[in-house]
């Protein structure tokens, strides 16, 4: 059967046999066809842009170690660092919410800043501004960084396990401890209902619903148990984990267990993050890592965030400034541009280079003292007095001129000079002598007075280290105090209205908008 595909009479416009120059075209087409069959070659797929770090570089023992350092630097920044122009890491944010710090913008009508909102205990879940989901104040500076510590710690542990199996297990233990502390800080500040989502090493992420405050502390304690199990060859990490576990258990009201957890921590132990005035580039446009602590932008006069120490904040605040206590020694810091006086802590130099203690033997003893108070007897007072009289707290550096600590300061506003040459020993070396300016305490004789005294000692010893917020919530949660007898209350500074009623921070709204399993805080309050 004949198949005709062309009608009769049809002729091609060329003769098939005369393809002289067309052969060349076919040749070119063949080359193109070959190229099309091997597009990988043509597209140059094997090259990564030189400004992008090669993921393969992280898949080595050295790469695993860099991930380890990344976790710890993140925790350092989240706790008390400053990020560029902002000082709002955990310590200043929690200090504002409690009685440690105040915004100097307070009192200026028309100004509603993030610092004032926190300072005045007004922390609604829905941000006041339209674009709050992108900029809500605690998210950028506290919630996000702490959650990042969790995620990065898991990444680093995975990298150590995969690429540095022979490394000391204490490194992984250290990372468990970092994650545990991040969860403690989250639980101290945020409402009940904190989601602890996970990012698997090299894999996908899993969104989690909220966990109650107790669940978060319990989880943190478990992480710190893991740290203890892996860190036997590092007493520093063991002690860090012990104090952390004690802190978590204390927050759960398990006083005896908390005391037991810290029993082996020596008096002179301290785990401090060191800060530096240098800035490290990340290699990403516009991004750098600040190695300074929050004092640089909070008290350094950069104008970025004007914070000040405060005395007797909102009726219930402690007299940090007027007490003359060397642990909360302060200096005048001039006035802000509206003539309002500012004060800065002597323990943190304005350069932002002073270390910040995350955990210490002092904290261990304070945990023990509180457990002893719960157990009854007088041991608690002896423990507190031992801290006050047996240490080597040097107070003001002997090489520095005396600091005017008279409060309120004398002189006209605007005439106060900025003290720039003082430095106190923030690390407190216990066990080798007395503490300047601290005498023994006497028993207030009443249960409430004793609790007040223990918590006051914690407030002064652990001043501006991020412990006060957890303590105030514990006073409400575990000791039945009315929030309005614990947190600053009454008229807010400068006639800006009155303090709000919040004692915790909401989970930032961006969690709600991006985590379908999260439905909001279970409850607000202690």
């Amino acid at each position: 059967m004949e198949i005709r595909i062309m009608p009769t009479g049809f002729t091609w416009p060329f003769e098939i046999s005369r393809l002289g120059s067309a052969r060349r075209a076919i040749g070119v087409a063949s080359v193109l066809l070959l190229a099309a069959c091997s597009p990988d070659k043509l597209l140059g797929n094997e090259n990564l842009p030189p400004d992008v770090p090669d993921p393969a570089d992280t898949q080595t023992p050295e790469g695993a170690l860099t991930a380890y350092y990344g976790s710890l630097v993140q925790l350092r920044t989240a706790l008390g660092g400053e990020s560029g122009v902002s000082a709002l890491s955990y310590i200043p944010i929690s200090g504002l919410l409690t009685d440690e710090l105040q915004s100097t913008d307070a009192g200026l009508v028309g100004v509603v800043s993030s610092e004032i909102l926190v300072d005045s205990r007004f922390l609604p879940e829905t941000p006041l501004s339209d674009n709050g989901s992108a900029t809500d104040y605690t998210n950028v500076h506290v919630y996000g960084p702490l959650q990042q510590v969790r995620g990065q710690a898991r990444q680093a542990r995975g990298a150590l396990l995969a690429y540095a199996p022979d490394a000391s297990t204490a490194l992984a233990g250290h990372l468990y401890a970092a994650e545990g502390y991040a969860e403690i800080l989250l639980a101290d500040l945020y409402c009940s209902g904190i989601p602890l989502s996970t990012l698997d090493f090299g894999g996908d992420y899993t969104l989690k619903p909220g966990s109650t405050t107790e669940q978060v502390y319990t989880h943190a304690a478990a992480l710190l148990d893991s740290a203890l199990a892996l860190s036997a060859d590092s007493s520093r990490i063991m002690n860090l984990a012990r104090v952390g576990k004690g802190r978590a258990l204390l927050a759960l009201g398990e006083y005896a267990a908390a005391a037991a957890a810290v029993a082996d921590v020596p008096d002179d132990f301290h785990y401090a993050f060191a800060y530096s005035a240098t800035t490290s580039s990340t290699g990403v446009p516009g991004q750098s890592i600040s190695n300074r602590n929050f004092a640089w932008s909070a008290f350094g006069g950069t104008g970025a965030v004007d914070l000040t120490l405060v005395d007797n904040a909102g009726i219930n605040g402690l007299n940090y400034l007027s007490s003359g206590d060397p642990r909360t020694e302060w200096g005048a810091n001039g006035t802000n541009e509206h003539g309002l006086p500012r004060f800065r802590p002597a323990k943190y130099d304005a350069s932002g280079e002073s270390p910040i203690v995350l955990a210490s033997g002092v904290e261990a003893r304070l945990i023990e003292a509180e457990a002893q108070l719960q157990a009854g007897g007088a041991a608690w007072l002896a423990t507190l007095n031992a801290l006050r009289t047996d240490g080597t707290y040097s107070g003001v550096d002997s090489t520095v001129a005396s600091v005017d600590t008279t409060y309120p300061p004398e002189g006209e506003e605007g005439e106060m000079q900025v003290d720039t040459t003082y430095q106190v020993d923030t690390l407190w070396n216990a066990g080798t002598g007395g503490v300047a300016g601290l005498g023994p305490l006497s028993d207030p004789e009443t249960p409430e007075g004793r609790v007040d005294l223990v918590f006051r000692e914690r407030a002064f010893w652990l001043y501006l280290t991020g412990h006060r917020q957890g303590d105030l919530r514990r006073l409400i949660r575990q000791y039945g105090r009315d929030p309005e007898t614990v947190y600053p209350t009454g008229p807010y500074s400068g006639g800006y209205g009155t303090y709000g009623t919040d004692v915790d921070a909401p989970i930032p709204v961006s969690e709600r908008t991006s985590n379908p399993r999260y439905t909001g805080c279970f409850s607000r309050g202690a």
Partner: protein
Amino acid sequence: MHAHHPLICVGVIGCTLWLGPPLPAQEVPGAPPTFSVTQEGAEHAAPALAGTSQVTVPPLERIVSLDLRDVTLKTALKEIDRQANLHLAYSPRLVPVNRHVTIRKDSATVREALLTLLEGTEVIPVVTSTGNVMLVRTEAKKAAPARAEGVVWGRVVDSATAKPLVGAVVSVKGTSLTTKSNVGGLFVLAKVPAGVQTLTVRYLGYMLATREIVVVDSQRVRVDVALVMSMSRLQEMVTTATGPKRRMDVANDVTVLDVDSIVATQPINSVTDLLEGRVPGLVVMRTSGAPGDPSRLRLRGVSSVYRSNDPIVIVDGVRMYAAQSDSLGGNLSALGGGVIFGSNSRGIPAPSPLDQLDPNSIKTIEVIKGPSASTLYGPDAANGVIVITTKKGRAGPTRWSMSASRGLSYIPGQYPTGLFRLGYNYNGSFDGSPRLCMITQFDCQADTVVRFQALNHPDYTILDQGHRTNLTLGVSGGSSALTYSLTGSYADETGLLALPDIEVERFRAQHGAAPPDWMQRPQTLERWSGTARLAARLGEKTDASITSTLTRETQQRSNLERDITTLMTTYVDPITESYWRPRGEGALGFISREDVLIPDFYQRATDLATNFTNAANLNWRPRSWLTTSANAGLNVISRQDTYILPPDMLPRRDSVGRLNRAQGNSLVGSVDLRAMATVPLPLGFRMQLAAGANYSHTSNAILNTRVTGLADGTSSLNGAGEIVGTNEVVTDITSFGWYLAPSFTHRKFTITTGLRLDGSSAFGTKVELPAFPKLGVSWLISEESFFPFKNFFDVFRVRAAYGQAGVWPAPTDRLRLYRTSRPWYEGGAVDATTLSELGNTKLEPERSTEWEGGFDADMLDNRLSVSLTGYRKMRYDALMDVPVAPSVYGYGVHVLRNIGVIRNTGLELSVNTQLVRTDPVTWSATVSLSRNYNVVTELGKGVEPFDISGGRVAAGYPLFGRWAKPILGFGDANGNGVIEASEVQLGDTAVYLGQQMPNYTANLHTTLSLLRGRITVGASLAYQDGMSQYNETAARNQFFLRGSVDPNAPLSEQAAAAVMDRTSYGLMQTVNTLRFNSLSVAYNASPSLARRLGARSLSLAVQGTNLGLFTNYRGKDPNVNAFTTGNAVQDTGVLPIPRTWQLSLRVGY
């Protein structure tokens, strides 16, 4: 020169020698107004004809006298018939006999009288073989068969400039006679059949001219045609990915701009100026009015959240790097931070590569709008394609052209005054401190309210006049074997910002010398540009061309421009001359007294750019049925950007000085090979089979270094005290694809199809080449026998097209990436890594599909041309940078997912019309209307709306929509007479307020040509509606709004002012604007005058831009946008678009 005495002939019936004065063109039967016909040598007309005409007075030459007022046409005709004894015959169906006419003519010919009465009816008188006169439609007179042949010749010129048009195609309808106009615009057609003929003249970018002429045996007929520029015509050739095609055969709407005509008559200083308002569906958003500042171009809306929405640019077949959305879009030195004042997130503008092309060197710009047309152009063409073709030389003697313009610019009108409420501190008693009081500041006792605006004050304003100089020199010519075209230009522009004397003196007192020039006049732009194109004919089958363009450009600016908003909110006490303004940026500032009027003019940004494009093109036609073409070329853009703060400048900080230095290079190499075979098929079909392959490689590299501690007087990295940081950004993208595109034509019907396999480098994955199809249908339905409106439409074409195009993820988007750093940790630097990108190995390219349909129609003897297009563009698998819950890895982590579906639907209408078409006067107008409706139809399951680019991505709403918490109510609860923030009730959740792009745009361009083109007047209007603008200027003016300072202000105003720092509800406004965009009045010297001055052509024009703005916007200018790159739109009070006036001289030799 003798006068022309036309021989008036009708068919072959009879001719008469017209011995009166030369006839105006419109008096020649059948001749349209812009068309003149003269008969040469008529004095020596054939004796027979001449003799015949002398025996008796031909009917149409008989003399009549008429004085008829407001009578019907029928009555008038009857009177003429009566006086001339014509035996006039006509059909009432053709002749509007009931039309009322008035005619007063004394001793006029019948022809004159009839033509006057029948003007505009397309009916003419013809003399029948029996000597009677008949009124017939113009086509009817063609019925007579040709008996002999004549010669038709003439000149084709541009109606606006009277410049000759070279290469215009002149044809005699119904014959195979066709020719092209030569270098002088002249054409000759021999052997034209005698009788009434239809002459058509077509030229790219001009309206088709159709003329009725009468050809007499052995005679020469001169026909001069002045073509009117057109924006879109079916006869044009348009560029497609497979090669040039007739618009008729292209199923898409493509806008073609004949740049030479526009530049010759309009105030054009950049490619953006060319495009703005001339392309239906294109929205141009200016960054500011500073010299050289870029514009953002969006064709048919925005479709991508994460990837670029910029159209791609092709110059002479070569890809040019013209992205405005990425990091190269602004000044590179600001990328790494370190800019003390100003916002890095908005960037510092730098000129766009597109505007580095010299408009004087461009012949045409073609704008291909969507995937239905751009499928075969390859990756990233989904946002449209701008195809630029530079000028080619023309064979002939060397021709020189020169243009020069000098202009000035200024901000029109006054800035709105602020209200300053002055008072004293009162805390139980007055403390004597003067201050400014808000009505809600109860510790402030106000005693007076004054109006003030520093920008309107001659001593304090920083606004002055700017200046611009442009010079262009062009030369072209060549032989038939080699042609050349060279264009060189120079532009020098000074912006309108100037440091006021008061700050100059303060600087002098502080530093002992006057501030340098760049501080006093900070905005400058200098641009050198050259384009050369050589085209060679390498035998019968091959030709080649090489094009090189080189632009060297320096733009400078300083922080002074940011002080516009500062001054806007500054009060100068006339007694103490002290300055008051809100503290800091934004709405959260307290008012404080400042020491200086201008806080910072010490920081300078410069951008030095060199843009080089080299394109080579080879066309080879080995067979009559086969054409091949190859384009290859390079585009290299080199940038050296600097941002400097000299030491000891800022009063209170940064006395050490800072310097940011950035080097950026982009290189695009592209190769485009294509072949097309034309094959006849059975049943009258013809197939064009096109095949091609494209390869392009784009490489961008930026190196940015930031130092502090500059030595006095230095602006070098060398010797700097400290390196603050360095950044390197490198991207490499390679794309490759090939296509097959058969098209089938059957006389009036064309079906185009195509399939492209497209790939792009996406690191770390196996490359696949997904297929993108296209299909188009074009049908010239007016040529069909059944078309019922033949009398109404000259041409009616319907079309429909469908196509797909892909947009690829960035090369590293699939990877999990890490950020490396060396932080200081426990006594030393350590290497640290953290996650920077989660990555997504499942990413696919975005897929854009588009349906487009519409029609093109020419009506009323081509006086009216209408093109209507509707489109529906879908972006599937849109890449969304979805925020990841912060509980996973902290704040600001995103992951790319192919989850979005975005729809753009719209209509585009383009109308070209010749309102008047006479020889001395032509008046044409082009109106374009477009409407775009943008909506995000889907987000991925479980993905909540998120904010990006200054807007929100939410299903059911436009992309990047503006949202804010609404003001639900307010009331003076405490009875103190004013509304405080606590007395305003805000909604808990934000509501949708508007979109960032306009949804309606309309543009009118009109040109009036007087005195046979000697005087041309051009004007353009632009209208936009539906765009929501964020008026951040108002936020900065919060303390000076009436609602803030006037206790008697309406409570609604007080409420809006009170919560301005909590919601931008009152700051977002849907605006409409009508802008009187341009006006140009040009005098085009007659050829004789030009020759007397030694030139071939000469024109002098006064041109103005931005001559009026009518808007409901409460800010200064809603069409400027503070964001240099990306998609966000926001008005922060940056420099509005200035008004300009310029004097322009153009000379041709």
